[in-house]
C-alpha cells in the first residue's frame, strides 16, 4: 500500500536511520527490565495529550444525506474489504473471506472474530446486516446497490445486490460502506431509526462535536489492542478551517499541529503550490500519490471540440512539465491517463505527448487559428485557476483563444449543466478505493457527471465494471485507456497527491499515515 515513489531517497534514508535507531534503542532497553518501566514513563510524557488537526470539511457527525463525513468514515468505521490498487485486488479487512454467489448478485462474507466496537459490543453478522439495511434505507449509494442482507451465522453474512456486477465488490471498499454498530441509531438496530452518533470498530471514537467548528475524538482501545500499537495522544481534535489559506496560516501560527487534505480528494486540499513553501519554512510535508488525475474535460458534443482533431491539438499543446512547476514539482505530470500503479496503465502504454510543432501544423491544416473557446473553472479550486491561466497561454501558441471564466460554484454548475462552455478543468479517479466507482461516475454513459463517453469507451467502461475476472478486466481497462487516448476524450494534466503537512514536533510513521490512500492519524503524536 505504501507508495514508495513519493518518498524521496533522502527521506527514505531518514526513515531507515530512525527505524534503526528505534530498533536498537528498544532492543537495548529490552535487556534491562527495570529500564522498561522507566521507558514507559518517559513514553507517557513525551507526547502532548492533544493532537490538533486543521481540516477543510465538516465531519457531519450528526449524519447527512451521504452519512457522516469522509474523515470519520475512515477513522471511526472499517469496511469489510479494502482495495489494493497495485495488485488490483480486494483484501480482507473486517471480512476474512468472501464467496460470490448467483453470478455475483450475492456475496457471502465470512467475518473476522473477536473484533469489538468502541462501545465494547461485539462485531458480528447482525451488525453487518444492520449496516447494509441502514445504508439501503438512508444512503444514495446504498439505495442503488443493496437488495438486502441475511445473517447466516454469528460470523457469516450474505449480502444481496440489485445487479450482478463486479462494481458490487468494488463498492464494498468504498468510504460509505463502513460498518457501524446497531447502537448508532435509536432505537438500536432499526434501519429507520434516528441516527445518534457513529459507533465503529476503527481507531477513533467520537467525544465531542460542533458542526462546522470542531470534532473531538478519543482512541478506541479495542482497535489499538487489536493492532498492537499504542496511541500517542489522549484526544484528537479536528478544527474545521474551510479556507485553504487560513488553514495554512493556522499551521504557521501553531494553532494546529498539522493540516490535512480532504480524504475524498479533489477539493479542500492544501494548495499544491504551498507545499514547497511550507517545506522550506520547516514543516514536514507528507504525501502519497493517488490515482486521481486532473484533466481538461471537453464539451465534446459541441463545436469545436466535437472534432477529435481539435481535441488532439489541445492534447499536444499542453506542456505538463510546465504545469507541475507551478506546484514546485510536488505533483507529477500526467503523461498517462492514470498513475502507472493503476491496473493496465503500463500495459496500455499510451503516453500523452507534448508536441507544439505537430500541434501547430495540425492547427494550420485545420485552419483553426483564432478559434475562441471558453474554459470554466470553479473559484474554490484555487490551484486550477493557476493551471487554467497556464493552459490559456499554452493554447495561444496554436491559435486557440481561451476565454477563462473563473466562476462561483453556483454559476459554474449552471454553465456546466446548460452546456455553455467548451472546456473545464476537472478530475477523474480518486483515492485508491474509489478507482472503479469513479470510473463509473466519470465514464459510464448512465451517469450525470461524466467527462467523456463515446460508444467505444462507454461500452468498455460498462464491461470493466461488470467483469469479476481480474485478467479480463485488465484487458478491458487497457482497451479503454487506448480508446480514450485515441479519441482524445480528455487531456490529462497532472496526478494529484494526498498530503499532510505537520509541524516539526509531530511524530508520524509514514507507513501508518498512509496505510490507505487517505491519511490515517492513529499513529501521530506531538512531542512536548
Amino acid at each position: 500500500m505504501i507508495e514508495e515513489k513519493s518518498i524521496t531517497r533522502r527521506e527514505f534514508m531518514k526513515y531507515v536511520a530512525v527505524g534503526c535507531a528505534v530498533a536498537m534503542g528498544t532492543s537495548f532497553l529490552g535487556c534491562m527490565k527495570k529500564e522498561d518501566v522507566v521507558k514507559q514513563e518517559i513514553q507517557k510524557n513525551i507526547y502532548r495529550d492533544e493532537f490538533i488537526l486543521g481540516y477543510g470539511k465538516d465531519h457531519k457527525l450528526k449524519g447527512g444525506k451521504w452519512g457522516i463525513g469522509f474523515f470519520p468514515k475512515t477513522h471511526i468505521l472499517e469496511r469489510l474489504v479494502e482495495y489494493d490498487l497495485k495488485r488490483d485486488e480486494y483484501i480482507p479487512s473486517l471480512a476474512e473471506k468472501w464467496v460470490l454467489e448467483n453470478d455475483g448478485k450475492a456475496i457471502v462474507f465470512e467475518l473476522k472474530k473477536g473484533i469489538k466496537f468502541s462501545d465494547g459490543e461485539e462485531f458480528n453478522a447482525e451488525a453487518v446486516k444492520f449496516s447494509v439495511e441502514w445504508l439501503k434505507q438512508n444512503h444514495p449509494l446504498g439505495k442503488e446497490t443493496f437488495e438486502g442482507a441475511e445473517v447466516i451465522d454469528e460470523h457469516t453474512v450474505l449480502i444481496n445486490y440489485k445487479e450482478a456486477k463486479f462494481l458490487n465488490l468494488a463498492k464494498m471498499a468504498e468510504f460509505h460502506m463502513g460498518i457501524m454498530s446497531p447502537n448508532s441509531v435509536s432505537p438500536a438496530g432499526d434501519p429507520k431509526g434516528k441516527f445518534v452518533y457513529p459507533i465503529g470498530t476503527g481507531p477513533f471514537k467520537v467525544v465531542d462535536y460542533k458542526e462546522e467548528q470542531y470534532a473531538v475524538y478519543e482512541p478506541n482501545p479495542y482497535w489499538y489492542e487489536r493492532m498492537g500499537i499504542k496511541p500517542k495522544f489522549k484526544r484528537f481534535i479536528v478544527k474545521i478551517i474551510k479556507d485553504e489559506d487560513t488553514r495554512v496560516m493556522a499551521l504557521r501560527s501553531g494553532e494546529v499541529d498539522a493540516i490535512s487534505d480532504y480524504s475524498h480528494g479533489g477539493s479542500d486540499y492544501t494548495p499544491r503550490n504551498m507545499l514547497d513553501v511550507l517545506k522550506r519554512e520547516g514543516f514536514k510535508v507528507y504525501k502519497r500519490i493517488i490515482p486521481l488525475t486532473w484533466i481538461v474535460a471537453f464539451n465534446y458534443e459541441k463545436e469545436p471540440f466535437n472534432d477529435v482533431k481539435i481535441r488532439e491539438i489541445v492534447d499536444l499543446s499542453v506542456n505538463r512539465d510546465e504545469i507541475v512547476k507551478i506546484f514546485d514539482n510536488q505533483v507529477l505530470p500526467a503523461k498517462t491517463l492514470f498513475i502507472e500503479e493503476a491496473p493496465g496503465i503500463r500495459e496500455a502504454n499510451r503516453i500523452y505527448k507534448y508536441d507544439p510543432e505537430v500541434a501547430r501544423a495540425l492547427a494550420e491544416e485545420l485552419g483553426i487559428k483564432g478559434t475562441k473557446a471558453s474554459m470554466i473553472i470553479e473559484r474554490e479550486q484555487g490551484d486550477q485557476i493557476l493551471v487554467g491561466q497556464l493552459i490559456q497561454q499554452q493554447l495561444k501558441n496554436v491559435g486557440i483563444d481561451v476565454e477563462l471564466n473563473v466562476l462561483e460554484s453556483g454559476a459554474y454548475k449552471e454553465r456546466r449543466d446548460s452546456g455553455d462552455y467548451d472546456m473545464r478543468i476537472y478530475y477523474i479517479g480518486g483515492t485508491d478505493r474509489r478507482f472503479y466507482l469513479r470510473m463509473f461516475w466519470r465514464f459510464h454513459p448512465k451517469t450525470k457527471w461524466k467527462v467523456y463517453v463515446s460508444e467505444r469507451t462507454g461500452e468498455l467502461c460498462d464491461r470493466i465494471l461488470t467483469e469479476y475476472d481480474k485478467n479480463k478486466r485488465k484487458h478491458y481497462l487497457i482497451e479503454f485507456y487506448k480508446a480514450v487516448y485515441e479519441e482524445h476524450g480528455v487531456v490529462p494534466l497532472y496526478f494529484d497527491i494526498m498530503t499532510v503537512v505537520a509541524s516539526q514536533k509531530v511524530d508520524v510513521e509514514y507507513g501508518e499515515l498512509f496505510r490507505y490512500a487517505e491519511p490515517m492519524f492513529h499513529s501521530v503524536g506531538v512531542r512536548i
Binding site: D245, N273, V277, I326, L390, Q393, N405, V406, A411
Partner: protein, 291 residues
C-alpha cells in the same frame, strides 16, 4: 454662487487652472497622471501581462523584471501596468455611471420636492444605515452566482450603492439653489424648468460634484481592490491589483514582492485621488473669509 453659466465658466476654469498653485492638488494630479499614463502606455512600456514563463517563476525584482515575477512567472510590472488600466477604467466607469444616475435622481428629487423627495430621503437614509461595502459584497455575491462577467458584476454592484452619495449631494445643492432669489426671479419671469436647470443649477452644482467624483474615484479604487483581495472581484487572468495582492499573500514568506507592489499601487492611486480631490475642494469651494 454663480448667476449664469458664462460667469461660472469664467470663474471656474480660471480656478481649475489654479490646481497648479495648490500643492496638494498638484501632487495628486501628477500621481493620477502617471498612473493613467502607465495604464495607457502599458502595451508599449511593459511586456505581455499574460505571458507565463514557468522557469522564471517567483523571481525577485531585477533589471529584467522590474518588480519581479509571480507564481506563474509573469512579469509583475507588466501586470501592474495593465492592472492600472483595469482599475482606472473601472473607477471612471463606476464613478461616471453613479454620478449620472445619482445626480439626475438627486436633482429631480430636490427640485420637485414633495412625495418623490420624501421617498428619496427614506432611500438615502436606508442606504446610509447599511455600510456600502457590506452591500457591495452581498451584491457581488448574488450577481456572480448568476452571471459570469465579473467586470460587469462589479460595476453593477458598486453603482447600485454608489449613486446614493451623488444623489444626496446633488439633492442638497439643488434644494439650496432653488430657494435663492435669482431662481425665484427667473421663475417669476416665466423661465421653464429646463432653463433653470441648465442655466443655474448645473453650473452651481458642477464644482462640488467634480470634487465629490474625484474623491469618489479613490474610494471606488479601494472598493474594487478590496473585492479583488477577497476573491470576489475581477477574476483571473485579467490583471487587477487586489486580486494580485490576494494571490501574493500566499507567498509572503518566500516572495513578498508579489504582494508588495500591487498594494503599493493601490495605496498610491487612492492617495492620488484623495489629494487631487481635497486640493480641488480647497480651490473650488473655498469659503469666503469673514471680516
Amino acid at each position: 454662487m454663480f448667476k449664469t453659466f458664462s460667469e461660472f465658466s469664467k470663474t471656474n476654469f480660471k480656478k481649475i487652472g489654479v490646481i497648479f498653485l495648490n500643492k496638494t492638488a498638484f501632487i495628486g494630479f501628477i500621481i493620477i497622471l502617471t498612473i493613467t499614463l502607465m495604464g495607457i502606455l502599458a502595451p508599449l512600456i511593459a511586456c505581455d501581462p499574460y505571458e507565463a514563463d514557468i522557469s522564471e517563476r517567483l523571481q525577485p525584482p531585477s533589471l529584467k523584471h522590474l518588480f519581479g515575477t509571480d507564481e506563474l512567472g509573469r512579469d509583475i510590472f507588466a501586470r501592474i501596468a495593465h492592472g492600472a488600466k483595469t482599475t482606472l477604467l473601472l473607477a471612471l466607469t463606476i464613478s461616471l455611471l453613479s454620478m449620472i444616475i445619482g445626480s439626475i435622481i438627486g436633482a429631480i428629487s430636490g427640485y420637485y420636492g414633495g412625495k418623490i423627495d420624501d421617498l428619496l430621503g427614506r432611500i438615502i437614509d436606508t442606504f446610509l444605515a447599511i455600510p456600502e461595502f457590506v452591500l457591495n459584497i452581498a451584491l457581488v455575491g448574488v450577481l456572480s452566482a448568476a452571471y459570469s462577467d465579473s467586470i460587469l458584476n462589479i460595476v453593477v454592484a458598486i453603482v447600485l450603492t454608489n449613486w446614493v452619495t451623488y444623489a444626496r449631494v446633488t439633492r442638497g445643492i439643488v434644494m439650496s439653489i432653488k430657494e435663492r432669489e435669482f431662481i425665484l426671479c427667473t421663475k417669476a419671469l416665466g423661465a421653464g424648468d429646463s432653463w433653470i436647470l441648465f442655466k443655474h443649477i448645473i453650473p452651481n452644482a458642477i464644482s462640488p460634484i467634480i470634487v465629490l467624483a474625484t474623491l469618489n474615484m479613490g474610494s471606488v479604487v479601494m472598493t474594487v481592490a478590496s473585492l479583488g483581495f477577497l476573491g470576489l472581484g475581477i477574476q483571473p487572468p485579467t490583471p487587477e491589483w487586489g486580486q494580485m495582492l490576494n494571490s501574493g499573500k500566499n507567498y509572503i514568506t518566500t516572495a513578498p514582492w508579489i504582494m508588495f507592489f500591487p498594494g503599493f499601487f493601490i495605496a498610491i492611486s487612492i492617495l492620488g485621488f484623495n489629494m487631487l480631490g481635497e486640493g480641488l475642494r480647497d480651490v473650488l469651494e473655498k469659503r469666503n473669509i469673514k471680516y
